[in-house]
Amino acid sequence: MPSTLTQSAVTRPPDAAAAAIIRTEDLWKIYEMGAEQVAALRGVNLLIARNEYVAIMGPSGSGKSTLMNLIGCLDSPSRGQYWLNGQQVSAMPDDDLAYIRNREIGFVFQTFNLLPRATALHNVELPLIYAGIGTEERAQRALEALRRVDLEPRKNHRPNELSGGQRQRVAIARALVTRPSLILADEPTGNLDSTTSKEIMALFDRLWEEGNTIVLVTHEHDIAEHAHRVIYIRDGQVADDKPTARARQRT
């Protein structure tokens, strides 16, 4: 276990925020481009609770992917703090972040990011390999995850033998297989046609119903409507944050 996990108890934020799965405070990301500095995020404050279903929208270049990468522990902020499950992760070293990515987060990418030479099953097994789980349990859990995305019959196909929607379902199965507390998706339907997009979104809806916390980035309003809350990002800042029509229906 990374040593920073115990330290975080000290920096744990108080009361209501403690229930939050994601809490950021004045999050900045500044890219150094030679002499030039690009501020992709400029003080983002976010609070996302367990089992929320959140869409992030905003114009191209507004900083959505940058924010997702920080939330997904793929990158560290230049300034500000980030608590994941009440645990301060913004200053963790590389390997501790890898551990968090492996256990707490399931990341779904626009371009799928599957290993091209590996079968669907092996791709789904991969996070379990790095979690140190034995061969038998690994295969069993990977199969179960593939079953949840209705792809068990394709388990021995390689990515280039699968359709775009099927590849994204493999990627989702890979994100699910470690039973993470948070599922992140950066434009998961960006490379898919509208019918396939609907299938993928139906899958996300189901995952949410099963109790998962979902945060996804999208450019399309009908995709965002699947969520219950939309956060608008503009110029690296939260411009708006409101419930969707679907959430209003629910209440």
């Binding site: 990468n69 990158d75 390997d95 290993l115 790095y130």
Partner: protein, 410 residues
């Protein structure tokens, strides 16, 4: 854990680029092949020298006018000719009575330019030797046919000849030579026995000789030539004490001062082997040096190809890191890959060396075998080279930033 996975990734990429992998591994292959082949060669030749060039039977040594050391240099030999008196039959008789440790003592004289004639055939450059009957126990051949020279022959200086199998082949092809007459340098001899085959040393046959009683030899050739005196000890542990005793007796007989150099040569199998080892040792050292150079070159080529592999698979590293691979996981993956690569080179090199020893064993008289210690050493060394030269590329992959790696195009 994911060690198996790392190995299968490595083997996959080897299979995917067979020619490239082979070229990559050429350095390691050549290096390991030379290393193993040279060790096999030195071992084989050493064995060969011990049994053949030494021409010394088990637990034997000989007393000669000159030592092997005297003969390694022309000036040294010139000085030794001055210093060392020839050995005489009187020395032989003296040692026969005084040297108590050896279990057998024999005297012999040799002339290497004998001519044989018989059956209308002629044969030149035959080794003509005069020996005592006790010589048989010193030799590494046995009597294949007939009998050896006996005491009666020795006492009566009979004109009898014990011949090597090459002489039979040339002069008596398809004929039983026993009882036949043969002219040795013009004198007539009767063949009484034939030796078993010994084979070649560096193209020189060991089977091209004629032996006669030493008394007969000296009657025909005069008594000036120095004789050689052979000794056989009762066991390998007794060789050294026997040699010491003979040395002491000879020094006393020749009134040598404590500090004076010996004016005779004592040649045991150890002396032959020492001389030989100093030659093969130098050759082996050079070849080991050559193979180390190849190994380093091979290692650098592997490092280069691994750097290319890391660049090629940056995106893959990004994916693995994104789903939780730690630095150590990535490091291990690439280290295993380069170790598998170089070990494959090592295995191919060993196979090449094995083929070499098979061929060399077939077409030369040297007894070749693949030395297991060398094989294991070569495997370990080639794996170590892969690990060592894999450290830098693997470290580079392990330190990749996940975001940067994911963004790189495949």
């Amino acid at each position: 854990m994911h060690f198996k996975e790392a190995i299968s990734i490595a083997l996959d990429s080897l299979r995917a680029h067979k020619l490239r992998s082979f070229l990559t591994l050429l350095g390691v292959i050549i290096s390991v092949c030379t290393l193993v082949a040279v060790i096999a060669l030195v071992q084989g030749v050493n064995l060969y020298v011990a049994t053949k060039i030494g021409r010394l039977g088990l637990n034997t040594f000989s007393l000669n006018q000159f030592s092997l050391h005297d003969m390694t240099d022309r000036q040294r030999f010139a000085r030794a000719v001055h210093r060392n008196p020839p050995l005489r039959m009187a020395d032989y008789n003296y040692l026969r009575h005084s040297a108590t440790i050896p279990i057998a003592i024999a005297a012999s004289v040799e002339n290497n330019s004998g001519t044989l004639k018989a059956q209308g055939q002629e044969m030149d450059d035959v080794s003509v030797r005069g020996v005592t009957p006790s010589d048989l126990v010193m030799e590494s051949f046995h009597v294949a046919q007939g009998r050896f020279i006996g005491h009666f022959d020795e006492q009566h200086r009979t004109q009898v000849a014990f011949i090597g199998p090459d002489v039979v082949k040339h002069i008596f092809p398809g004929i039983n030579p026993l009882g036949r007459h043969i002219l040795v340098n013009g004198s007539q001899f009767r063949v009484i026995g034939v030796a078993s085959k010994q084979g070649n040393v560096f193209g020189n046959s060991l089977d091209q000789f004629v032996m006669m009683p030493i008394s007969t030899f000296r009657k025909l050739n005069g008594k000036q030539a120095s004789i050689n005196i052979g000794f056989k000890a009762g066991g390998s542990a007794l060789v050294q004490p026997a040699m010491d005793q003979v040395r002491m007796l000879m020094r006393a007989r020749r009134h040598l001062a404590y500090t004076a150099k010996a004016n005779f040569g004592l040649i045991g199998s150890s002396a032959v082997m020492d001389l030989w080892h100093s030659i093969t040792g130098a050759i082996a050292a050079v070849m080991v040096g050559v193979s180390v150079v190849f190994l380093v070159v091979g290692g650098i080529v592997i490092m280069n190809i691994m750097l290319a592999a890391v660049t090629e698979r940056t995106h893959e590293v990004g994916i693995r890191k994104a789903i939780g691979a730690r630095r150590a996981d990535i490091l291990r993956q690439f280290l295993v890959e380069s170790a598998v690569l170089s070990t494959t080179g090592g295995v191919l090199g060993i196979l090449a060396a094995w083929l070499f020893t098979l061929l060399a064993g077939r077409y030369t008289p040297i007894p070749f075998s693949l030395p297991w210690t060398a094989v294991i050493m070569a495997l370990l060394v080639s794996t170590a080279v892969g690990l060592f030269f894999g450290i830098y590329p693997a470290g580079k992959a392990a330190r990749l930033d996940p975001i940067v790696a994911l963004r790189s195009e495949t």
